[in-house]
Amino acid sequence: MSFLITCPICGPRNGYEFRYGGEDKGPRPDEADMTPETWVEYVHMNRCVAGASKEWWFHRDGCSAWFTIWRDTTTNLQVRAPDDALARSPADAPEGES
């Protein structure tokens, strides 16, 4: 099955028009009390979920929009946010939970 990504501006487009932008790890850590640990967690560390994963995409060969989608990493298809996603959203999850 072809890999389509829904751009919020252009609608569903061929996945190869887009650049992957990493897992959604929530807001950028506050600069004020930044430690090497929090920075490295934010920049490098991944969950590598086999299943639905919320991630950033960039419409490189299109409108240049940055946006997040949910994608099933075992099928490579865009999926709807899981029902409990809002409660478990990486952006909202408390420290150490996912």
């Binding site: 650049r19 992957y20 990493g22 090497p36 490295v40 979920v49 086999a50 994963s53 994608r71 075992t74």
Partner: protein, 408 residues
């Protein structure tokens, strides 16, 4: 399926003990090699390998069989060099033909920048005592007459890095040979047994949960190739700097001998070698987004054919017979994550090899065994700790991770 009268090379249904001295998660080459060396060098035979599917299912059976030791950094080269030296040793020791064919690797340069990078790699290799030399285009042509070194290709050949000691090894034979060697020494290889959790008590490893029950063990090695990072997060909430990308490979129909070296090109994004069966095995492409599909794509099959036939025009019209894909667990600095007892006592990691897992399995298994047996990290593994990221000491294995990361 076995022929009548034949016996399996290894014990395929060993009894499941309630506890082991060490549990290795994943039945790939790094686990098998670690198990073999635990028994050979350290007398540790109360060891179990747990594999969800069957040994050799993952990267062990999906790579393109290329081995070499011409990496870029001084931390990496010695490990790969020793791995290369171990193929003939293991062939004798395991009494099993691993079909090591040291035909040499030829890495083409298509720009002045690539030539400069190659010269640095060559200097590093020579400094470490690894055979590597620069070849001018006419020497390249002499070595591999089928290559087009004229001005016609989109990216003409400016020269090449030639690495004579590298080549190819029959990857399935390595799986079977190491399984045989480990099993003969008493290691239990439990296939179709999924590890579903890692147990800890007071910050120490206590064992694993499996699809066949709880197994106690004071030490657990997570060595599950491309699946390691997801499992580490799922089991222990330890996240790793890894992106699992699918890497694609394919073979052509069998041809008469025309290529007796491994040829690779960064600019074309292709590597190829002719197998002993005559097929041209080729690959290199990764989907630039993490996924566990292990599917090939028309997008890349087409590109692979275009790239391959531009450098080797004699292959035009030749058909691909089979194609497949495997997982490469890429780290930002193209070097593995090898660690132990941090943050959990008794928890060991060996992953993040990207697409270097096959060529490194023998020597890494040897040192991983030492690590597990003694609890002390061997010096050669020191550079690969997870906390190099926290210290911002990433290794410069690639000049720029443009092609081999999810960020290209």
């Amino acid at each position: 399926m076995l022929l009548p009268g034949s016996t399996p090379l290894w014990d395929t249904r060993p009894p499941l003990r309630p506890s082991y001295d060490a549990v290795l998660i994943g039945g790939g080459l790094h686990s098998l090699a670690t198990a073999y060396f635990l028994a050979r060098d350290h007398g540790m035979t109360d060891v179990a390998i747990f594999e969800k599917r069957f040994i050799g299912y993952g990267g062990a059976g999906r790579n393109t069989a290329i081995v070499r030791a011409n990496q870029r950094t001084q931390e990496n080269v010695p490990l790969y060099q020793e791995a290369l030296e171990l193929w003939p040793v293991l062939t004798r020791e395991l009494d099993y033909n691993l079909m090591f064919y040291n035909c040499g690797n030829l890495n083409l340069c298509h720009s002045e920048a690539a030539v400069t990078a190659a010269r640095m790699n060559i200097a590093s290799a020579q400094f470490q005592g690894v055979g590597s030399e620069f070849l001018e285009p006419d020497e390249v042509k002499k070595l591999v007459p089928a290559l087009d070194v004229s001005d016609r290709p989109r990216h003409p050949v400016h020269g090449a890095m030639f690495h004579p000691p590298g080549g190819i090894v029959r990857h399935d034979a390595v799986v079977w040979g190491l399984a045989k060697g480990a099993s003969e020494r008493g290691i239990h290889i439990h296939q179709q047994t999924e590890v579903t959790g890692i147990r800890t008590v007071d910050g120490r490893i206590d064992g694993v949960e499996t699809s066949r029950g709880t197994i106690n063990s004071p030490r657990v090695l997570l060595s599950a190739g491309g699946y390691s990072a997801g499992l580490s997060h799922r089991f222990l909430d330890v996240r790793l700097p890894i992106s699992p990308l699918t890497i694609q490979a394919m073979v052509t129909q069998p041809l008469k001998p025309l290529l007796d070296h491994v040829v690779s090109s960064g600019a074309y994004h292709v590597y190829c070698n002719q197998t002993l069966k005559g097929e041209i095995a080729t690959g290199a492409h990764m989907d630039p987004w993490p996924n566990y599909t292990t599917q090939t794509t028309a997008h890349y099959l087409k590109h692979q054919a275009e790239a391959l036939t531009d450098i080797l025009p004699c292959l035009r019209g030749v058909r691909f017979m089979r194609h497949w894909a495997g997982l490469a667990d890429m780290t930002p600095d193209m070097a593995p994550i090898i660690d132990g007892n941090d943050p959990i006592e008794g928890y060991y990691l060996n992953c993040g090899w990207g697409y270097f897992g096959f060529k490194s399995c023998t020597s890494t298994g040897k040192y991983m065994a030492q690590y597990l047996a003694t609890g002390e990290r061997p010096e050669i593994l020191e550079p690969f700790t997870l906390n190099r990221y926290k210290r911002h000491r990433l290794m410069g294995e690639t000049a720029g991770a443009t092609s081999y990361s999810p960020w290209n």
